[in-house]
Symmetry: C2
Subunit: 212 residues, 2 copies
């Protein structure tokens, strides 16, 4: 609804190009469009129309469709910055803390649109998939684990990512019960030990193999 209301709220009421509200209206419209149609299908023109602004203004603010996408699905947290805090403290409870933190972020309805836009676009579009890849590696958890001195940060980040993305898919996209309705603490109790082993367990590092 946010984007649909963009014109009534913004474009016709004298909002000037410099207004922070215009930028936010464009981002709302972009999240809606990328979430609904995916990265490739959502056009800058449609985003601009939904936000009630001229397409040139979208380019003025963001420079390119890719930059708009990155800004629109901008994660409300910086894994590289927040993970050290989450992992600080008793190492034995690190897995459960990561899961509880992750679920807490997703459960905040305001964030879910951006996450779903990212996952939806990543599944259908190669550029978005590459962006999600980078967000989980060089720009995200992998970098955080490397900063913190974890051995094999690439492997551990990939394993943690596989469980957390799958949890998001099960809980928020296909809503598998009882995972969909469980509270964050219950989910952390169930899935925390998995993340704990991926973070701190003794793991064999696989060697790459060519697959068909």
């Amino acid at each position: 609804m946010t984007s649909g209301e963009g014109e009534a709220k913004g474009g016709r009421t004298g909002r000037r190009p410099g207004d922070a509200g215009t930028r936010e209206a464009i981002l709302d419209a972009a999240r809606e469009a990328f979430g609904r149609r995916g990265y490739t299908s959502a056009s800058l023109r449609a985003v601009a129309a939904a936000a009630g602004v001229d397409p040139s203004l979208v380019l003025h603010y963001f420079g390119s469709k890719q930059a708009l996408f990155v800004a629109a699905v901008d994660l409300p947290i910086r894994p590289r910055e927040v993970l050290p805090g989450v992992l600080a403290g008793d190492p034995a409870g690190a897995g459960a803390r990561v899961v509880r933190f992750f679920v807490g972020i997703w459960d905040a309805a305001a964030n879910r649109g951006a996450f779903l836009a990212l996952i939806r676009s990543a599944v259908s579009d190669e550029p978005a998939a590459r962006m999600l890849h980078d967000l989980l590696t060089a720009d995200g958890p992998e970098a955080a684990l490397r900063d913190l001195g974890f051995p094999d940060p690439e492997l551990r980040a990939a394993l943690v990512g596989s469980q957390l993305v799958g949890l998001a898919f099960a809980r928020y996209v296909i809503r598998l019960e009882p995972l969909a309705s469980a509270d964050a603490d219950a989910v952390a109790t169930l899935i925390g030990p998995t993340v704990q082993r991926y973070l701190h367990g003794d793991l064999p590092v696989p060697t790459p193999e060519e697959r068909p």
Copy 2:
């Protein structure tokens, strides 16, 4: 490419409506269309055109768009039928066997299109999400675990599903290394213990909670 070749291979070469090849050409075109555009956006007319047949023939064979989708993403295995065989034998190795089996099915390139079509459609379309939900619950792993007498089959199936869907996402969609290039045995060694705990571990069953 399969669907693009459909017309040249099929519709113009005297293939009769009863031919099994026509049905296959429609299914190939449907997998391509659902995989690329998602369930809602892919039209029966476009599928028919790609397969080189009249739209009425698609309805003749499949009855409805939903039935065509179910047939197109038809999993090459029946979880309810194959899981008992995979779980038979040493219970301590069940988790690793499930992961190795799952990766083996996905690694077969011929199956990947159907799986990706299902995941892509599920992420963008409510009807497809409901179908994937049912495939993982009443019609799939949950039913298999129930048949086999596992306690809390709904919870265990949801947890196994969350890890395996996330693994597929990490390995095949965003291609997180080293998971993307590891062989099936290595992946089973890394992720098997997770599935093992979800299948045979002592798990607290969460009580549903209202979330905002």
